[in-house]
Symmetry: C2
Subunit: 256 residues, 2 copies
Amino acid sequence: MSRRIRVIVQYDGTNYVGWQVQENGISVQQRLNEAVLAVTGEQIQLHGSGRTDSGVHANAQVAHFDTYARMPADKFAIALNMRLPRDIRVLYSEEAPEDFHARFSAKNKTYRYTVQTGLHADVFSRTTALHIHTPLDFMRMQRAAQYALGEHDFKAFMSAGCTIENTIRTVTRSEWTQNGKYLYYEVSANGFLYNMVRILAGTLLEIGGGKLPEDAISRALASGLRADAGGTAPPLGLTLLRVQYEDFDTEEVLNR
Amino acid sequence: MSRRIRVIVQYDGTNYVGWQVQENGISVQQRLNEAVLAVTGEQIQLHGSGRTDSGVHANAQVAHFDTYARMPADKFAIALNMRLPRDIRVLYSEEAPEDFHARFSAKNKTYRYTVQTGLHADVFSRTTALHIHTPLDFMRMQRAAQYALGEHDFKAFMSAGCTIENTIRTVTRSEWTQNGKYLYYEVSANGFLYNMVRILAGTLLEIGGGKLPEDAISRALASGLRADAGGTAPPLGLTLLRVQYEDFDTEEVLNR
């Protein structure tokens, strides 16, 4: 009998082509596949909660795979970490119900976009925060972010080339917080369209810089036109923070 | 007339052989010399507040150099950053009194040693924190750190091969703080011997792990024997946090 194992994976996306296996470089998924092969001898099919682009990070990505290996489920984390590069860590592993699916069972995801203000880019956040030295109106960005809350057709906040049919999503959190020179945009939803968080962040930063009106998100939601939203913020500031399932919440597990 | 310029430099020491120019690799000082040469056309002599070893970081290193360039002193930061790699930033530049010396005028320095606890190493602090997964008695380390306070002969906390004569230093702060899974040891003194902070941190971590008695620092200070102190903690956890002068305090300048 095979068992289904689910893992929480943390990675620094700087040196990867993204989550998904691709021909043009090394992906996080490929490194995990190789680690599972080294540990179990099996070529597994790894399913993540969703893709992340090149340069995007994860504090808590969820993935699952099926294995015949007899290792106790909680030992996979340590065993895989011994085979993984230091910019990918498996923070947790356990046996999942056989009908659990990292992607299709996900109920809610949270992303964070990090901006560093100030005249000079901090060396310690150079790969995890977007540095903006021009003035940003923080209160304006806070107010503007609220227009994303609720159930909307987010097709204006999707990169061209994506052919998904249902572009309606429900955003349950959309807010900015501040800690010194760092600004954090956190957004939770039952799902995200391709580049949706980066377009939301890009739009909010243009609102904060005075290049777009405060209700720009509302206008773009109404028109459904990509051109009414702002630019796509660069990947380095984006981190997948949390994935929630009916029976599994990465934040709750990691704070145990 | 030449002017003396002082700068506050931040760097991620991971990819450098240390602050000081060396034959076996690239140093932070060399990159700064090259940047000044590119900006001013001058081969300058750069003086830092002190050396840092390979892998050691700085949040606020201070350095000075003399130049005939007519650029406004505060513009050096921006001009140098355009020529520096992204893991070195000049956060501030100004004209200094002609008798200012980054090393000899320094009154006080503060270092921080960062430890990350928990079963797995966090990818985002893999080059700036020492990961320790075995249990540490935090309260014991806090109490033990206080033995370093005051004026002492710290020769037991100096790496062999150092031939300095006066090994008496005054420690004005020596304490641990905690933020989630991160433990920070911060130590301030009027000067530090070679590897002194890393040996203090290494000793305190052995005390926290139960390998040395709680008063181990006191005993080593009394005996003056290197063997009575603990091991030298690895460089990656160490950051030069602050340098203070009679007329210049990096923390005050950066918080303006």
